[in-house]
């Protein structure tokens, strides 16, 4: 299937592919930062005791997890203008990615926090540490260790999900690859070029996770 791969055409489109790659890198990075911020906020709201603050966070997480990203993307793309909000496609895409991934991240962070045994929190309490100190010094450092792998997993999903933004005419890696298919009727060449780009991003994230874990492991325990 890849036997007669036309590498000359692929090289010809390299500048476009490179531009797409950079766009995907940008969308994913900003999307990830936004998603982390939303995830931490939503998680903080779901684990605190006030019901009226918890409700909106729970509704947000449930709604996002229950519906497809494509539907969310179109909902913003066609819905926001009806509210009189006209934004560039790129920004809509970033908002959709952040909102989507943020909900999953909230759940990942929450499960990490809940995995810390209650006894450690009580030990912190009984030495006079405040709620914020217990979170900062005892709970979060450990929760972070257990959540890095699933969070990187979610980041990998986010990178691939950003390909859906091609559907609202954001030019990113997938869209750039489609150019080869459309201009030259060579869909396989386009897809291979695209796949190589995603593969690079995947390995970058994977090695970042590995490096982080090696640096932050508890000696003899991992």
């Amino acid at each position: 299937m890849l036997g007669g791969l036309n590498t000359r055409v692929m090289m010809e489109y390299l500048p476009e592919i490179w531009q797409g790659f950079l766009a995907t890198l940008f969308l994913s990075t900003v999307g990830f930062v936004g998603a982390m911020a939303l995830g931490v906020l939503a998680c903080a709201l779901t684990i605190q005791p006030l019901r009226w603050l918890r409700a909106p966070a729970v509704i947000y997480v449930d709604t996002i997890r229950a519906t497809p990203l494509l539907a969310q993307l179109y909902f913003l793309y066609f819905g926001l203008p009806r509210l009189g909000i006209v934004l560039p496609e790129m920004l809509i895409g970033i908002i959709a990615l952040s909102l989507n991934s943020g909900a999953y991240m909230a759940e990942i962070i929450r499960s990490g926090i809940l995995s810390i045994p209650r006894g450690q929190v009580e030990a912190g309490m009984s030495t006079g540490l405040s709620y914020m100190q217990r979170m900062r010094l005892i709970v979060l450092p450990q929760a972070l260790r257990t959540t890095v792998s699933p969070l990187i997993g979610q980041a990998i999903v986010l990178v691939k999900d950003s390909s859906l933004l091609s559907l609202i005419s954001v030019v990113e890696l997938t869209r750039a690859g489609q150019r080869i298919a459309i201009d030259r009727f060579m869909p396989v060449e386009g897809l291979v070029a695209t796949a190589l780009g995603y593969l690079m991003l995947y390995y970058a994230l994977k090695s970042a996770a590995g490096a982080w874990q090696a640096r932050n492991s508890i000696p003899g325990r991992g």
Binding site: Q120, E122, T127, G128, L137, I218
Partner: protein, 241 residues
């Protein structure tokens, strides 16, 4: 130092503390025993506010426990040692011990470490300062936990079955530390079934059953001439071997 008057607590419909009135003086060592589910852990967990209660009054070192605002301050004066140690697994023994002094007492790191080292030496762990909890035996972990409480220089020490989770050969190393502490004049309340410990250092032994204090007596009288049938029944069960 500790003064319960008419304290009641329910878990749903279960009346876990029934009209508790009890005074512990400064420097006193009080051992609390009783069958499981009798409310003895709940009793001492009330003293540093780990368990709220529904009615009655509890004064600890002059602070009314119903004042939730004063709770953090009070907790920093009351040490608590758990059955399951509850060390912070991501911190070394020394870091476990110095965490609260640095962040609650605002001691400088050097000063906190000096104090922490001295305490770890005192509990016989001079060579384990840099070890993580999972690298320590149960007895060693519990001694770190005791040092962690002592590093706050508490006025009261509470122990909730501190040796129940330990292998038999490690129980004495922990009890020795506690005996030393009692002899130094620390005010202590200890939930335990280690009757040897009670005989050696307790000023009073309290027997609880079904959420109520059934009997309070000095250890000699408690073990040789308990007044209540339920106490006798309990003692016969734990002392027969």
């Amino acid at each position: 130092m500790i003064e319960f008057s008419g304290v009641n607590k329910w878990f749903g419909s279960l009346h876990v503390l029934q009209d508790i009135s009890l005074t512990v003086a400064k420097g006193e060592v009080v051992v609390v025993c009783g069958p499981s589910g009798s409310g003895k852990s709940t009793l001492i967990r009330c003293i540093n506010g780990l368990e709220p209660f529904e009615s009655g009054r509890l004064l600890v070192d002059g602070t009314d426990l119903s004042n939730r605002k004063a709770l953090l301050k009070l907790r920093s004066e009351v040490g608590f040692v758990f059955q399951s140690f509850n060390l912070y697994p991501h911190k070394t023994a020394l870091e476990n011990v110095t965490l609260a002094p640095i962040h609650v007492r605002r001691l400088g790191r050097a000063q906190a470490e000096e104090r922490g080292r001295a305490l770890l030496e005192k509990v016989g762990l001079a060579d384990k300062m840099g070890s993580y909890p999972h690298q320590l035996s149960g007895g060693q972990q519990q001694r770190v936990a005791i040092a962690r409480s002592l590093c706050m220089q508490p006025k009261i020490m509470l122990f909730d079955e501190p040796t129940s989770a330990l292998d038999p050969e490690m129980i004495n190393e922990v009890l020795d530390v506690m005996v030393g502490l009692a002899r130094e004049g620390m005010t202590m309340m200890v939930v335990t079934h280690e009757m040897g410990f009670a005989r050696k250092v307790a000023d009073r032994v309290i027997f609880m059953d079904r959420g109520a204090i059934v009997e309070t007596a000095p250890p000699e009288r408690f073990f040789t001439a308990p007044a209540h049938a339920r106490t006798r029944d309990f003692l016969s069960k734990i002392l027969q071997h």
